[in-house]
């Protein structure tokens, strides 16, 4: 059996194998995002005062996964994959801005910087994987590129130190939670496709 299938000049592994890889990668990103938030929160304890302010919604809050117990509509794997793809695409630019502007913070710890860069790289890879899976399942139909826009760069570059710290705090928190959405979506797709054997 050949290692991969070639379509439109690209090499595609089997569907089950690709899903297995995607789930694994998303789990890693999710864990690292939690670690990033914990370290940032520990270093900038003053952020507790920041939390007293009003929490802003994440820019991808509107992309919610349906509850598994919902009986209204049977969730289709393609629906879940599309939600994951939109989430990853929506966070591509913000992660890049985060990596580029974190050094502006005073006394930023090197671990925080390296962790942020790693999350950005892996997220980009995961996005490519999810798109490949969608191409296989939809036979090349890649429509519906709409995803929420990002307008937080101005806050990251604010002259006010407190405003800037709050902006970074909120962004890192949102990244962690949204990454869990992607992970859960991919796991649900894997269970459906593999006839719930590995679940």
């Amino acid at each position: 059996v050949p290692t991969c299938l070639v379509r439109n000049g690209r090499c595609f592994a089997s569907l089950e194998e690709m899903l297995e890889r995607a789930v694994g990668l998303s789990e890693e990103i999710s864990k690292q995002a939690l670690q990033l938030f914990t370290e940032f929160d520990n270093q900038y304890a003053q952020s507790k005062q920041l939390i007293n302010k009003n929490f802003k919604k994440c820019h991808t809050s509107s992309l919610e996964l349906p509850k598994p117990s919902s009986t209204s509509v049977q969730t289709h794997p393609i629906t879940l994959l599309k939600i994951a793809s939109k989430l990853l695409s929506a966070w591509k630019v913000p992660l890049n801005d985060l990596v580029n502007n974190l050094p502006s913070l005073k006394d930023i710890h090197p671990n925080i910087l390296s962790k942020a860069r790693e999350i950005e790289a892996k997220s980009a890879g995961l996005l490519e994987g999810v798109k490949s899976i969608l191409i296989q399942m939809q036979n090349g139909d890649t429509e519906d590129e709409n995803y929420p826009g990002w307008s937080g760069l101005a806050s990251l570059q604010s002259e006010n130190e407190d405003d800037r710290l709050f902006a970074y705090y909120n962004m890192i928190r949102c990244e962690g939670r949204e990454t869990q959405k992607v992970e859960t979506a991919l796991k649900m797709v894997k269970c459906k496709i593999s006839n719930e054997n590995n679940c």
Binding site: I51, S61, R177, Q180, K187
Partner: protein, 591 residues
């Protein structure tokens, strides 16, 4: 009475990622009845809500059902305490439901003891996920752990099993009772509590007995090996001493190391001096051995040793075997004794003095020749002859067979008869000889002689023996008379003379013939002397040859020989008679 104390939110947990509950610890009540209320707001919203359910989760708790739970939003929760005196609020708690999930423990924990093909036993543990959680849809992904221990043990042994819901445990002790528990954790939440205990007793396997047997065998073999190694080690040590015996250090004979140690040089020197003597003795021993080996050298060195070491009497004793070798020489002496015996057996040496005696006898015999008819001179002549008789038979035996034949005749027992017959015959013979000489009939004489002998014996055998028995002792001189008869016998010797003449003619030169004739002519009465003279001539010739005869001496000797021939003729006549008798004996024997 005072306002209530500040309450504290204990924890918030979600068992299924769809609902969650929060618990709080009340503060002091201030001595007055106090009411507690929980209020919350969501991120991005300004509206504040109160707890939807204070009863489901028990006292001091608030339960958020699915309706009021948003998984992907942060809850800001606060607890308020109020009494108549006043009110107080807790610190706010920010809750993200995805991070507060704590599931129920797994269920249906089952233990089963199984055996592999190689009869190795193991414990098979299996369980089911918690019921509330919806795992099949992928909404949850669980990880599991199990722990077990022997019933009496203190510490647990934990094994992480990953996503699988079964596990195999090996290497458990047979006969032991084990307790087992399990728990689970979602991908980003907290570990559940441990499940209820299950227990199982491992059976006593036959393999255990086998292992005990093998252990016993191993221990025994180990002990045996150790014993053998130990024994070999000891024996090896002894073997080394045997194989490589200690090398003796150099020692000087008679040298005391103690003296060196004590530092007594004088005693050492004295000891060394004393040692000078033993080596000399050793040298002597060596020399002695050398001398003993070589007999000649021993003989030569005997006098030197005796001179140098007079006290060594042992060496003379050693020389005794040399004397034994001398005994060997004595053996040679015995050979010499044999040689001495040999000359005794030499007849010519014995004959020589007899020959010397004979010329003396003829001197005495000359007077008897002068008076031949008288009987007295016959006795005198017999006396010296009797002296020669004991020697004569021994001498005659080896000399000639004729004498032996004569003895045989004597032994026949007819000597007396022969004597008488000889006397008679002598007279008759003389007469016959004279007649024969006159007539010249030699053949007749021979024939008469032959006839006369048998007739005489046949006529007078018995009476002669009885009558002449005393005369027999005297007859040896009579035998001498017989010699006279021998003179008559000379007449009988004529046939021998004839034979001699025949033999002499071819072998004898003319000179001898002339000599023989002369003797016969001179002694017409002693015609018998003719052959005796011839025999004497031959003997004298030999003697003359031995004596280196000169011409003059030869002439004198010839004269002496002429005189001697007369005496010798008498004696030899006797001898001739004996010779004459011998053939007669032969004739009798033939008859």
């Amino acid at each position: 009475q005072s306002p209530p104390g500040k309450p504290e939110i204990h924890k918030c947990r979600s068992p299924d990622k769809e609902t969650f509950t929060c618990w709080w610890n009340p503060g002091t009540d201030g001595g007055l009845p106090t009411n507690y209320s929980l209020t919350y707001s969501k991120e991005g919203e300004k509206t504040t809500y109160e707890c939807p359910d204070y009863k489901t989760s028990g006292p001091n708790s608030c339960f958020f059902s699915k309706q009021y739970t948003s998984i992907w939003k942060i809850y800001i929760i606060t607890v308020n305490a109020t009494n108549q005196m006043g009110s107080s609020s807790s610190d706010p708690l920010y809750v993200d439901v995805t991070y507060i999930v704590e599931p129920e423990p797994p269920r249906n924990l089952t233990l089963e003891v199984k055996q592999l093909k190689d009869k190795k036993t193991y414990l098979w543990v299996k369980w089911s996920p918690p019921t509330i959680t919806d795992v099949k849809t992928g909404w949850f992904t669980m990880e599991y752990e199990i722990r077990l221990k022997p019933e009496e043990a203190e510490e647990w042994e934990i094994h992480f099993t990953g996503h699988q819901t079964q596990f195999k445990v090996f290497d458990l002790y047979p006969g032991q009772k084990y307790l087992v528990q399990t728990r689970c954790k979602p991908d980003h939440g907290y570990w559940s509590r441990w499940s209820q205990e299950s227990s199982v007793e491992m059976p006593n396997d036959f393999t255990l007995k086998d292992t005990t047997v093998w252990i016993i065998v191993a221990i025994l073999s180990a002990v045996i090996c150790l014993i053998m190694v130990w024994a070999v080690a000891l024996k090896g040590y002894s073997m080394m001493t045997c194989i490589f015996p200690p090398v003796p250090g150099p020692k000087i004979k008679g040298f005391d190391t103690h003296l060196l140690e004590k530092g007594k040089s004088e005693e050492l020197l004295s000891a060394l001096g004393c040692q000078d003597f033993p080596p000399t003795s050793d040298c002597e021993d060596l020399l002695v051995e050398f001398l003993e080996v070589d007999d000649n050298e021993d003989e030569r060195l005997m006098p030197s040793h005796s001179k140098e070491y007079p006290g060594q009497g042992v060496k003379p004793t050693h020389l005794d075997p040399d004397s034994d070798s001398g005994h060997g020489s004595y053996d040679s002496h015995s050979l010499l004794s044999e040689k001495c015996e040999e000359p005794q057996a030499y007849p010519p040496t014995l004959h020589i003095p007899e020959i010397t005696e004979k010329p003396e006898n003829p001197e005495a015999n000359i007077p008897p020749t002068v008076d031949p008819q008288s009987t007295n001179p016959n006795f005198h002549v017999d006396a010296p002859k009797s002296s020669t008789w004991p020697l004569l038979p021994g001498q005659h035996m080896p000399r000639s067979p004729y004498h032996s034949v004569a003895d045989v005749c004597k032994l026949a027992g007819s000597p007396v008869n022969t004597l008488d017959s000889f006397l008679d015959k002598a007279e008759e013979n003389v007469l016959k000889l004279s007649k024969a000489l006159e007539t010249g009939e030699e053949e007749v004489a021979e024939q008469k002689g032959a006839k006369s002998f048998p007739s005489d014996k046949q006529n007078t055998p018995w009476p002669l023996l009885q009558e002449k028995s005393p005369t027999v002792y005297v007859k040896p001189p009579d035998y001498v008379e017989i010699h006279k008869v021998n003179k008559d016998g000379v007449l009988s010797l004529f046939p021998k003379q004839r034979e001699n003449n025949q033999t002499e003619k071819p072998g004898v030169p003319e000179t001898s013939k002339e000599y023989a004739k002369v003797s016969g002519i001179t002694d017409n009465n002693i015609l018998v002397l003719v052959p005796d003279s011839r025999a004497q001539n031959t003997a004298l010739l030999e003697e003359s040859a031995k004596k280196a005869p000169p011409s003059f001496e030869a002439d004198q000797s010839e004269k002496d020989l002429a005189s001697f021939t007369a005496t010798s003729s008498n004696r030899r006549l006797q001898l001739g008679r004996l010779d004459y008798l011998d053939p007669t004996c032969f004739m009798h024997s033939f008859h």
